[in-house]
Symmetry: C2
Subunit: 321 residues, 2 copies
């Protein structure tokens, strides 16, 4: 949530000369996105977001993200649409960083979502999965089950400082999940980071999905499990079954889950919670001096894991036949 790179009017004017979006009217650095520098950009052609990709995003992954947004937008999903320059490429260079211009999406992130918002989200998630079906590129999920033990190794010795007993709990979760993790579920493009910040509403209606920089190729139901974690819990770890039911029903209204996905749901939810607990834990223990970004609390996901460990089946999350 910061502007890491200053862009001068002269540098931006040069950059825009390669695009056919009209003359520069205004640009403002905006506090959105943790990893990149984003500007609200207004030209005579319309409103856009200009993103400079900072070093935490691997440059080699950018064509996947940019092409995916273009693919999804072309198929009618409300997501940022990359703008190609005169050379036909949507990825340029500005201030020595990879940079892209995408269409500006109106909408507001909901801080305290209701079951209605969850139902809207479920439908949008299933539409995203459907729209990605014929996307030609592949990107493995670098934060799936195989990545969790190496993440834990970075944090294990200090985990109990953050929460008493966290190291032992995590060791048990890891062993259980590595054994139980399902293979061969239906899959394709998933968003993998559909937290409330990345979902826009206008009034009661969902207006768009943003921030595809964790998107990858993985099980569709894992994306649903990430959303159940991100949307249906209070910070104290209370699960709101009505919200989960609305999210799952919204999803199934567009794409019904297969029996194997329903069966795997508690495992996927527990795994998704562990994934966010671990990345948060590593960030929490490694805040760089002078950091502009407040790290998120890993204990919120430690508390969610308490729920997941006792959830026996998809019905515990609100799924009904």
């Amino acid at each position: 949530m910061a502007v890491y790179t200053e862009v001068s009017d002269a540098a931006l004017t040069d950059f825009l000369a390669d695009y056919e979006i009209g003359g520069l009217l205004s640009y403002k650095g905006i506090a959105e996105g943790v990893e990149n520098t984003n500007f609200f950009l207004h030209t005579t052609g319309g409103a856009y977001i200009l993103t400079l990709y900072e070093k935490r995003v691997r440059a080699g992954d950018l064509p996947f993200f940019i092409n995916l947004m273009e693919h999804l937008a072309t198929r009618g999903l409300a997501c940022p649409q990359p703008v190609r320059n005169r050379d036909g490429t949507a990825l340029g260079t500005l201030c020595d960083r990879p940079a892209a211009i995408v269409s500006f999406l109106d909408g507001v992130s909901v801080k305290a979502p209701t079951a209605h918002h969850c139902a809207e989200l479920g439908q949008a998630l299933a539409r995203l999965h459907a729209a990605g079906a014929d996307f030609g590129m592949r990107r493995d999920n670098s934060l799936s089950v195989g990545a969790w033990r190496p993440l834990f190794d970075q944090a294990a010795s200090q985990a109990d400082v953050v929460s008493a007993g966290l190291a032992a709990r995590t060791r048990d979760d890891l062993a259980w999940l590595e054994a139980a993790w399902p293979a061969n579920l239906p899959g394709g493009v998933i968003h993998a980071d559909l937290f409330t910040d990345n979902v826009f509403f206008i009034g009661d209606g969902l207006s768009g999905l943003i921030d595809f920089y964790f998107a990858c190729t993985d099980a569709f139901a894992y994306d649903l499990a990430i959303c159940l974690n991100a949307w249906c819990f209070s910070p104290d770890g209370t699960y709101h079954r009505d919200m989960g039911a609305a999210l799952i029903a919204g999803y199934e209204a567009v794409r019904p889950l297969e029996p194997a996905e329903v069966e795997a749901l508690p495992i996927l939810c527990r795994g998704a919670a562990l994934r966010f607990m671990l990345t948060r834990l590593v960030d929490w223990l490694n805040v760089p001096p002078g950091a502009l970004v407040q790290p998120k609390d890993p204990r919120e996901y430690d508390r969610r894991l308490t729920f997941h460990r006792q959830a026996r089946d998809a019905a515990a999350y609100g799924w009904t036949r």
Copy 2:
């Protein structure tokens, strides 16, 4: 340049219910303004800036700033126009802070201004002074000559750590300026902080002036002296006489300087440089831990003072009869 206060969608929706600017479409925290939190705000009624006034702005001064912007905008000056709510007030409360909505101005700040930009600025500055002539409120300049010695007292003991000999130079400047400072120059509303960040251009034309939170009642020519300092020097202290000449000529095309103002110009320029050197020096020596804002370098103004000390008359700045 930071978002100090998070505003939830629910809090903002409540706040906007008191205004007649339509439904909320989007808002983004923007990295603009050092003292306050600013949001780009898009509603069905148009584009706005929402400002939350943080503690560095004295709440008692806000009616002066808000009423001044409204006064100037009503008189055709391109500056943010405050939006009054249903109660007729332009100053509300959001997240326990005074807050205002003003019209959004297109335009881009020029990092490396030319003589042309200076000429445009000079005209706009004179139009601002003219438009403020019948403004009914008064606010003393709390950062004029009487404030400089107390500022210096806060920093004197450490001044030489920042630049060798700075304490002695400042002591001499202070004594000289306190003796020479002119009284009874033509005056009224001045902006008092018209740095390049606060002046917008679209293409080659000046499109607006922003950030009136140092505006006060003082000598018009002192505002011109601030602009000469802010626009016509390189960081190494080189004065660009062609830019100064363009700025002064632009100003005089709208409002010719009186002989007393011409005579006082070198004193006012030296004073303006000392004022920014001193406030920067105090900020430089008092960076709070975890500061989100990089302090500006006081030595840039120490170097400008070297020029001002040897400038004999307004001609040294590019003024011609």
